[in-house]
Symmetry: D2
């Protein structure tokens, strides 16, 4: 089995190293990740310049681009054989709820999925305790499961793992993405040269974190697994919109 | 009425100027757009440095960040009054099908929506004829409609306009996003210093461009209006995934 | 006469517009400048990606690169005829003393000089009063002088103009670069995500600002003109260094 | 003795690792280097955003900025004690002649010098053979020499080492910088999206590579040591310029 690994924290990130080491027990691993931290990169793709690919001392490849660039380049130009799976992570921090659309970790997996490959994004929620091995082992189990019984449908999974020792995990749950209240305001600051600058502020407080959501599940020390899709069409609003636009008759 | 305009082609782009001029007939316009072309930026958000805001000679503001940064900064920190609407565009090129997830134009509107504001992304399909005024007038009509009868639900619209004179338009249709085949391979090149570099290649050919899709609609000289949502959860796969993970019993 | 204009504040900067308008009375002007503010870019040259060239509405060209890139690209690949002169500026702020080595304004002129073209960098000192027309007219006079009697030696001039109305200027002086004390410390700040960040602080106070220096001259309301060279060899230290290394005998 | 190391190839570069290991035998080493390859960065300084500082697994610090930023931040804000010396390198490739003004390697040393610290830039000429240990040992000798007998003048040295085994070195020479002919033209290419792009071309052929120059010395398998200064004033042209401007009488 061949697995392509990527992330958005950069090729040198501890979470990526944990994942590579753990998964190498069951698969041939190739790592292609950004040369620097690209957290918040979402699905951005580099169109105005070419990308460069280099190999690090530890055998990981790095690219001067986004997480999406990395997977795109690896799959469509660099690897001789298509990987059987793309795994992105372990992200140093959660990717749940609305935050998912900003996430470079999820985006790397999404690119794999768009290129026809089963893909998984893995994040360690509130990574202050550093239980990357918990998340790595959870990922290992999911990948093993995939080897044993293939999915019959295309697959893009968003996995969030509580930052606790593995023996404290209360199992695993299939979830929907929760929702947040809108983001906090930007925070003004002044540069030493007198210019006003603005930091993007914190994400909003959780709004929908009820049972069945990723927020709730992780809060209860369970692993959250959310199946994702990439069709942004709001089907349930199409009829209403037709009416509104006067197109119904 | 107050409208916040943004785009991903940069504050100096002709499509933005057309939109600002046309919409200024019915609303108070503020433009906050990226300082340079950020096509392909998706929903990327700048977290590792603060943003700067400057005013151009023509009264447009520009930000050293992504389309998402622009709307985020304008709404949560710069504008005294919340805009009634966010309009992003007119993009120089289509944003249809799977491409939507890479689009900075759509992302700017998405950020408006996430911040609770009705938002519209407008793109001119294959902009080689430069019929920006067609797209500007279509947008004007939609915004006028919004003034007359408010939506009763949150709204995020992705509008793609054929690049033809307005009198040749065959109306407007509510569509779903089409699908593409997977992207073309990266294109290898060699730098003058002998390094291999890789350009991201073209998008894939259309795969699902049947009736009801944005691709089909625009192909038939009609304006495509797709309502979007931002919940990436694949609800219809949750049961299957539970089974697969052995969680059903 | 053909003049290539560039700067480091970006193609949209007021100082550049003033210069272009004023010099267009005596020469054919082409402007090739950075797409965004690149103050502090020094002589940096972009080697790891290709450059793009676009034309703005006002006829100015802009490049997604440094000031040095702009002049390099214009002279070695874009212009059909070699310019007779490169003029860089008008910078919004002084470029005197040690600061010269960080300056993108000076760097653009340096690149012209290295490519065999007489070159001038022009800066408006402490540009808070906005007397760009003073600096533009001073530049016009120097360029006129150059037309009338050619230099017999290669030329690279660093011109700093006080920010006062032209009639208050007390003439023009050939100067040497002054010196500053070492820079102020970086200024610590904390990002909203709790990361410590560091702003580069202010330049040091002037150390050598005596008669004959650019600092002194501008302080006395005179235009400072410093001829520059690009040979960094410290000739007067070569003998001492030979001794020190035990190479003398 | 405390030595601050930096470079422009990035904190992960082999030349830097060689240098750190070799110099750690005689000094306490701190490495602060760019997070990614910044070759060609010259003295550029980041003024429009703050810098971040991180520690890598190997104990090296990296900064999301230029070589100049790295030394500036380390000396003026991060280190508790001023280093006794700044060493930049070992660069993967020569920094000789006019190229010196574009060099980020030399710039890092220049920043140390400007901050009052004896500084050395070290480059391995045409590094295809990878004799970094030759360059590391040459640097060690120079630093040892510095410990034994202090310089009585400020010092900024540009050292270029032939890429040969140490036993083949024919000694060391104090040199002046040579000169090149002007650079080759930019090289046009076309992106997959049909846009013309321009790569900066090769440096010009050597023009002044006679005896006494860095080019000549390295060509003859000797180490080139050039003392540098940062005063760009062209003193020998001041009189001529005064005449030319009509200021002499």
């Amino acid at each position: 089995m061949r697995i392509l690994l990527s992330n958005d924290d950069g090729y040198f990130a501890p979470g990526l190293a944990h994942l590579a080491e753990t998964l190498s027990s069951i698969a041939e691993i190739t790592v292609v990740a950004p040369e620097r931290d690209r957290s918040g990169a979402s699905n951005s793709l580099t169109l105005d310049r070419p990308l460069s690919l280099h190999k690090s001392h530890n055998g990981f490849y790095y690219v001067n681009g986004t997480p999406t660039d990395c997977v795109h380049l690896a799959v469509t130009g660099m690897l001789d054989d298509l990987p059987d799976m793309v795994v992105s992570g372990i992200n140093d921090g959660a990717n749940m709820g609305d935050d998912t659309i900003y996430s470079g970790t999820v985006a790397a997996a999404t690119e794999g999925f768009l290129l026809g490959i089963p893909s998984i994004a893995v994040s360690l929620v509130s990574a202050s305790n550093g239980n990357f091995s918990t998340a790595a082992n959870v990922t290992l189990d999911i990948v093993k499961g995939f080897i044993q019984k293939k999915f019959h449908v295309p697959i893009l999974l968003n996995v969030n793992v509580p930052d606790i020792p593995q023996e404290q995990l209360q199992g695993l749950e299939v979830t929907r993405l929760g929702r947040r209240h809108k983001a906090e305001s930007v925070i003004k600051s002044v540069s030493p040269r007198g210019e006003t600058v603005y930091w993007v502020g914190a994400a909003g407080a959780v709004q929908d974190a009820g049972e069945g959501t990723d927020f709730f599940t992780v809060q209860n020390n369970r692993v959250s697994v959310t199946p994702l899709q990439i069709d942004l069409t709001r089907y349930d609003q199409m009829g209403y919109l037709k009416d509104w636009l006067g197109l119904s008759c």
